[in-house]
């Protein structure tokens, strides 16, 4: 009835929980609600935590403790594996891109120095632009920016790699949509997919910056790099100094040497280098830029990306938490855990006995010496003869009352009946009443008094002396058939 989930680790990732728990709860809906309420309320009594996430996970741990291990990987396990693989892939891609970009940008073959402006434009300005776009993507979806966010999302390498991975890994299940920015539809899923995509891109960006930094440090340490600067914009050395001075403001207190001085800026401009013989340019003028560049990459590339990664990871955690807690089945679970359990009790399952019992046979046609008894005032005694003549087309010699006085009165009636030695005794009963054992006792006593040859005919009469309904007749018919006396019959008239 309920699929038991695979569990190989004592504590699953939050994403696995967000997939597995709702899926398990969905299947669990086949279990009667009261049963689920009883179970979940009992677990809630043992869980002391108040945070809903912790309560749900604690509940899951207790439920899952009873589950039978299953070796088939679940969709949740596949998804978590995909998520981790894509994260690693993004890290590798970012690192490779960083390594390649740094190698190209810091390329120096001894003929012309590395242009500081190019380094700054590609490794700082371009990154700042990308950070700006990422921030735009992080904003809540609102009219006007939705289309821009879609475009940025389409360009996002995280979305691209996830879509490619899904195709290659043939992950066609619904859960795989969670990894795809363009296919996650419901609000909680869309939010998760967005932050997943942003997190992946930030993983790549952090790896990129780290690789750039490492490559730059490596090149600076192990090769002989020379730096200069050049731009077609109308900038003189003073303007350049003001710009670099402003850019270096964040790290100046920590690393004063990483701020280029006016002399370095003036002497390392390309046309000055071209005018002077390289041999006469002091080495500090060619290499003095590297502290500034490294500090800029760290401050404007690596650090913002690390912050964004932290922020995105936290948001992803929140989105995953919502993925779990916003699920209707999980909300229903929390409702059950927090609700008072009202039990109204259950009977022990007494079953109705089969009622397919053959109709009792019709009594033999004989009017000789027939008498009638109105049991428990089924009809007034003085109307009995007329009623039987009208509805049963029989004639009775005398009518008696029984069943509504004392047992002694019934005994006296029986003696009078025996004295008449009847061939047939009609017992008129109230059709709507259930046949009691008291009546059975009375019929047994009649039999003792009138002998085995006498026919005893039970005649159910409805209220107001009407004929018994089909349902009433059926009840009496079954009772008569069960009575066990072959000469006890049933007639209900016509």
């Amino acid at each position: 009835m309920i699929r038991r989930m695979h569990d190989s680790a004592p504590e699953r990732s939050l994403l696995a929980a967000a997939i597995e728990i709702p899926a398990w709860l969905e299947a669990d809906r086949e279990t009667p609600y009261d049963e689920r309420l009883h179970r979940d309320r009992a677990i809630a009594g043992e869980v002391k935590r108040s945070d809903p996430l912790l309560r749900v996970r604690e509940w899951w741990r207790r439920i899952h403790g009873h589950a039978v291990a299953d070796s088939t990987p679940t969709p949740a396990a596949r998804l978590v594996r995909a998520q981790r693989l894509i994260t690693v892939l993004m890290g590798i891609l970012g690192a490779v891109a960083g390594l390649g970009a740094a190698s190209a940008i810091f390329h120096y073959d001894g003929t012309w120095p590395v242009n500081v402006v190019t380094v700054f434009a590609t490794l700082v300005l371009l990154q700042l632009l990308l950070i700006l776009l990422t921030l735009l993507l992080m904003l809540p979806r609102a009219p006007g920016i939705g289309a821009i966010q879609d475009l940025i999302g389409s360009l996002n390498p995280g979305a691209f790699i996830a879509a490619l991975y899904r195709r290659v890994a043939r992950m066609d299940d619904r859960q795989a949509n969670l990894l795809l920015w363009h296919e996650a539809r419901a609000p909680a899923a869309a939010r998760f997919a967005r932050w997943q995509m942003v997190t992946w891109s930030q993983v790549a960006a952090v790896a990129f910056n780290a690789a750039v930094l490492a490559t730059a440090i490596g090149l600076i340490a192990f090769t002989d790099l020379a730096f200069g600067w050049s731009t077609t914009l109308r900038l003189d050395a003073n303007d350049a100094f003001r710009i670099t001075d402003a850019l270096a403001a964040p790290w100046r207190p920590l690393w004063p040497a990483a701020t280029p001085d006016p002399e370095l800026i003036r002497s390392s401009r390309f046309f000055r280098l071209a005018a002077a013989s390289p041999n006469v340019v002091p080495p500090a003028d060619l290499t003095g830029w590297w502290p500034f560049l490294l500090a800029a990459i760290v401050t404007y590339g690596l650090l913002p990306r690390c912050l964004l990664l932290t922020w995105a990871s936290w948001r992803l955690h929140v989105a995953t938490r919502h993925l779990l807690l916003d699920d209707p089945q999980v909300r229903a679970l929390l409702d059950r855990m927090n609700s008072t359990e009202i039990r109204l009790g259950t009977a022990a399952g007494e079953r109705v006995h089969s009622s397919h019992i053959a109709e009792p046979p019709l009594p033999p046609l004989s009017d000789a010496d027939a008498i009638a008894i109105a049991w428990s005032g089924a009809i007034p005694r003085d109307t009995v003869s007329h009623w039987i003549a009208q509805h049963l087309h029989r004639r009775v010699a005398e009518a008696f009352n029984a069943g509504n006085g004392t047992l002694a009165a019934d005994e006296a009636t029986l003696d009078r009946i025996a004295a008449r030695n009847p061939s047939t005794v009609f017992i008129l009963v109230r059709a709507w009443e259930a046949p009691l054992l008291e009546l059975k006792d009375f019929i047994g006593a009649v039999r003792e008094h009138v002998g085995a040859q006498c026919s005893i005919v039970i005649v159910p009469v409805a209220a107001d002396r009407d004929l018994a309904t089909a349902a009433q007749r059926a009840t009496w018919s079954r009772w008569t058939a069960r009575h066990g006396d072959a000469a006890v019959y049933l007639e209900s008239g016509a």
Partner: protein, 476 residues
């Protein structure tokens, strides 16, 4: 039996609805109910518990079978009015193993242990003097007694029953066990309270029981509203899609998808019905409900190109943006002299290239898997009437189920026609909010938690609206 909570023994003649009353009050559809006498052979306790605390207990008992014989025995052993309960106790003790009086002993035991008496008769049929022996035996027990006039058929003999019962019982109430709605059940519990006033603890427990049941009822309403909300969200955001490669029969694929979608919606609706019934403890209830016809014309369908999860339009935008970046590099190289012509041309070329090249790109395979292709999707259903019809049907079903008595055993018939127009009786402001919620579901394939909670509030309110206006078609 414990004296710490109120206990009531339901006693009477066989087949007067004792088990129906137990089934109704215990909301237990499995209680054996049969027209044949002797269906209940043993006493069964039904405890109402609120988080392990027993608030009251009903004991369903077998009916009297030989009351006059019992009364005769009691008269024979009478020692005075003060010792009558003791004489009854002696009868039960002396006949514990007597097969003839098994039913009487079984029904008298809980009473002698302290249970209040709920004596059940059928007010749809005439009073009979043979009941007097039963009532007299009960009077002999000395326990607090209430008579319940049940109505099993169409007749009305309530007045003559009242006249007779008033002589033996301090409280006489009419209670139709098979048709009593929740309000009537609470009224009955409040009447039990009058019976329980002899014991202050009992009265308090019964007050708590009424309060707990009312709270539980509201919670169940809200859970049912939540289920209806989920049904609407699932149906309004339902889509089906399948690959539709070049050269395939798109019409056949579309028809197959439409059928899939219809089946999915039908199954979803049936599942929601089952869950709502389960919430009200009607798991075995058979429901007869007409399916409504989902028109294909109300379905949104499209065939679109998808690559890496990107549609053709998204792909073109991506191509344009990539082209613009490449063109921008040329602009930078030209020192701004190109007046951003490079970026513009790059965007145009990139966008067009992505659009025109999409077919070829679709055929590209990575590790044997094509990276893209055409997909045909069907849904969501755009008919503005659909959510209202579904809501109306769900509200009607809910009302019938919520008020359905657990003693009834016939199938539940939901008049689909009545349900379809039920939404008309929802209050105006609520209708507008619901309409806005339906639109949001379609636009966003679902709702956020606050939006969903608001939808559940409105559906719960709509349930009340229907209850107030009594516009829910056939009576439950």
């Amino acid at each position: 039996l414990s004296a710490t909570h109120p206990v009531f023994a339901i006693v009477g003649h066989p087949n007067k609805g004792k088990s129906s009353i137990a089934a109704t009050l215990a909301e237990d559809e499995t209680v054996a109910i049969s027209p044949d006498p002797g269906t209940t052979r043993r006493s069964h306790g039904f405890q109402m518990q609120s988080d392990q605390r027993v608030l009251y207990e009903l004991v369903d008992t077998p009916g009297f079978q030989r009351p006059r014989a019992v009364l005769t025995w009691l008269h024979e052993h009478e020692r005075g009015a003060d010792s009558r309960p003791a004489v009854v106790r002696e009868f039960v003790a002396g006949h514990a193993d007597d097969e003839r009086f098994q039913d009487e002993c079984e029904l008298l035991r809980p009473i002698l242990a302290g249970a209040g008496i709920l004596y059940v008769v059928d007010g749809a049929n005439p009073y009979g003097a043979e009941y007097e022996a039963e009532m007299e035996i009960l009077r002999w027990t000395g326990q607090p007694r209430m008579a319940l006039i049940n109505l099993i058929g169409a007749g009305d003999y309530v007045d003559e029953w009242r006249r007779a019962l008033n002589q033996y019982f301090s409280i006489v109430r009419v209670f139709d066990a098979v048709r009593a709605d929740f309000g009537k059940r609470l009224e009955l519990l409040r009447a039990f309270r009058e019976l329980g006033e002899v014991n202050e603890g009992w009265a308090r427990a019964l007050d708590d029981a009424v309060n707990a049941l009312e709270l539980d009822r509201s919670a169940r309403h809200r859970r049912a509203a939540g289920e209806i909300a989920e049904l609407l969200i699932d149906v309004l955001s339902a889509r089906e899609s399948a690959p539709a490669p070049e050269g395939s029969d798109h019409l056949a694929i579309e028809n197959a998808l439409i059928e899939q979608l219809k089946a999915r919606i039908r199954n979803r609706e049936a599942a929601a019905r089952r869950i709502v019934q389960d919430l009200y403890r009607h798991r075995s209830l058979e429901t007869q409900e007409q399916q409504f016809n989902l028109l294909s014309g109300d379905l949104f369908s499209e065939r679109s190109f998808v690559i890496f999860g990107l549609s053709a339009a998204q792909l073109a935008m991506t191509g344009a943006a990539t082209g613009a970046v490449a063109g921008g590099v040329i602009d930078i190289a030209a020192g701004g002299a190109s007046l951003l012509l490079g970026a513009g041309l790059g965007a145009l070329v990139g966008g067009l290239g992505a659009m025109l090249g999409s077919n070829r790109l679709a055929k590209v395979q990575v590790l044997g898997t094509p990276v893209g292709g055409f997909r045909l999707s069907v849904g969501p259903i755009t008919s503005p009437n659909l959510p209202w019809v579904m809501l109306g049907r769900a509200l009607l079903h809910h009302r019938l189920v919520a008020e359905r008595n657990h003693a009834r055993r016939e199938a539940l018939i939901v008049d689909a026609g009545a349900g379809a127009h039920l939404a008309d009786s929802i209050e105006g402001g609520r209708r507008r909010r619901l309409s806005a919620a339906f639109k949001r579901i379609r636009d966003h394939s679902g709702l956020t938690v606050p939006e969903r909670d608001a939808l559940i509030d409105d559906i719960t309110g709509a349930m009340s609206d229907l209850g107030r206006h009594g516009a829910a078609g056939p009576a439950p």
